[in-house]
Amino acid sequence: MTKERIKSNKGPFTATVTANKRIGERFYRLRLEFAGAGARAFAKAQPGQFVELDLSTATLPPPDSIPENLLDVSSRNILLRRPFSFCDLNSKGSKTCVEILYCVVGPASLRMTTLSKNDLVSVIGPLGNGFSIPEGKKTALLVSGGMGAGPLLHLAKILKEKHAKINVIAIVGAKTAKELPFEMQKSQPKDFKKYKVKSQITTDDGSLGIKGFVTDCLLEWLNKNKLTAEDTIIYSCGPEAMLARVAEIAKQHKIDCQISMERMMACGFGLCQSCAVECRAAGSNETIYKLCCKDGPVFDSKEVVFRL
């Protein structure tokens, strides 16, 4: 007999869909419920970690409800899993629920929209390293661009629940008001309101909140509120150009900064080596490739080399 030797259980787990709610034109929130080993594995998941979903068996929506720009490629079949961070997590009794904020961008996320209550989904996770909360911080700035808000919503909740002394401020940006992935309440993202986190919206076109980039707003905020650098931390997720600018601002102000990166992945658990992130090698001018899935997706902003 061969000796059983499984180091840790990351699935694949079968999760049950309990909700798949549309938010605005392009966004959805999928809620997955785990029981048994899956519930145990996910109960301890950290904000910034992610899951790999098998969407290959999900059905396409009817042609008349497929966005015009995706109609041509919608029939492509799905082979690989797709990675998603989660925006909320609730563990109660023997069940754990994970919520995923997603946007329809291609054939896989298009299929994802047809998942409905009681459908079953194969899930691998929790994967990667999430955000960490160093001792002694007094202010946490959450900076997101578009879809990047997802893991920061979960982080906001954890900060409020477990680190009540930290003042949390969210600066959320998008191209337009329509590109904000939130349910709104009095022009404020509902989730941040629920967690009692002060949030500032910016849009590139000024259709809501302050007109301009989220990074300009961050810079202005830092200049206005003279914080002690050591007491402050920035957490950020969004498009890479935005993250590069956030990293630059953090460096100028000597503030700790953790960023969540995104890469195309075939597996999500270190086998395929496709999700390389160029990083500075410790103690030399050389750069090395780290893996977004295993070494990240959350990185210290000082170590990432951006090539835009």
Binding site: T2, I6, K10, L79, I124, F269, L271
Partner: protein, 311 residues
């Protein structure tokens, strides 16, 4: 009834508990899959390519999905021979599956140096000579597409491996794969593995540029399976049938039915690659599926099934 079924195979003189390998580049260096599956249940395990010096690999994007397949252009990113021996070999020593190390190089001397060093390691059953990587500028596929170079690198490696099994991994990107297979066998290959990926390209029509940073990548996954089955059968009929050289068949295998096609075509064992990314426990499920097939077809030993294609 079930206990009587023997799915062990003789692979170039080594007994494998079952004919299922995980293929190079899809299962890490050692126990990475152990997070998901009992890797000791595998028949064989093939490491990611190891080169003499560490390699960073290609810039991103390194992969892109296609219909029923994917392209990769990792560029042989690996920790290099010394780190492999230091960090991974101690883990391999505890594995019960037969471990083959996939080796690559830019020059014949590099292949020889890596082969020589690994030949001293007891925990390693054999080496898989990667002469078919489509994603590097020097070495790789350039060794694998010219029969004279195949002969040269194979015989040089054969001298270096001592008593270990030398398996040569073939590229499908050739006019006649049997010519290459014969060159490898005549130069001392103990086993053949086929097929590696097909050189391919995906274009972003908005920018009119290739999606992959490397421009081209290797196509793998279910899309290539029927071609792989055909090529395994061709090499079996034209090169290995009346020899003791086993074929490790691979290309797009996702389930036991796929694996059995390869065995009927002439493969002694099968390699699971891309499917590991989707279901990291899939190789283990395939082992169980092969047992069930044998039970249903009243096959007492899987060896009876090898190369039984009826035409």
């Amino acid at each position: 009834m079930k206990e009587k079924i023997d799915i062990s195979v003789d692979f170039a003189g080594v007994r494998l508990a079952n004919p299922v390998f995980t293929a190079s580049g899809t299962c890490g260096y050692a126990d990475e899959l152990a997070d998901f599956a009992n890797i000791n249940a595998l028949g064989g395990f093939i490491t990611k390519s190891i080169t003499l010096k560490p390699r960073k690999g290609n810039p991103t994007p390194r992969i892109v999905e296609t219909d029923s397949g994917m392209l990769n252009a990792i560029g042989l990113a690996n920790i290099g021979l010394e780190n492999f021996l230091k960090e991974k070999l101690p883990i391999i020593e505890k594995m019960t599956a037969k471990v083959f190390v996939n080796i690559a190089g830019e020059t014949i001397d590099e292949y020889v140096a890596v082969a020589q060093r690994l030949s001293a390691e007891k925990a390693i059953a054999g080496l898989e000579l990667n002469i078919s990587c489509p994603n590097v500028k020097k070495g790789g596929i350039t060794f694998g597409t010219d029969p004279a170079q195949v002969a040269e690198v194979t015989s040089a490696a054969k001298k270096a491996v001592g008593g270990k099994i030398l398996m040569v991994k073939l590229s499908p990107c050739v006019t006649d794969i049997s010519v290459i297979a014969r060159a490898a066998v005549d130069s001392g290959a103990d086993a053949l593995s086929l097929i590696n990926t097909f050189t391919a390209m995906v274009i972003d029509i908005e920018t009119a540029r290739p999606v992959l940073a490397n421009k081209t990548g290797g196509l793998s996954g279910p899309a290539i399976k029927p071609i792989a089955v055909y090529l395994v059968n061709k090499v079996y009929n034209e090169v290995t049938k009346n020899t003791k050289i086993p074929i490790l068949g691979m290309g797009g295998i996702r389930n036991a039915s796929d694996a059995i096609e390869f065995i009927i075509a002439g493969a002694t064992a099968v390699g699971i690659g891309t499917a590991n990314f989707i279901d990291p426990a899939c190789a283990i499920k395939i082992i169980e599926g092969i047992k069930k097939y044998c039970a249903r077809k009243k096959i007492e030993s899987i060896k009876e099934l090898i190369g039984t294609l009826e035409i």
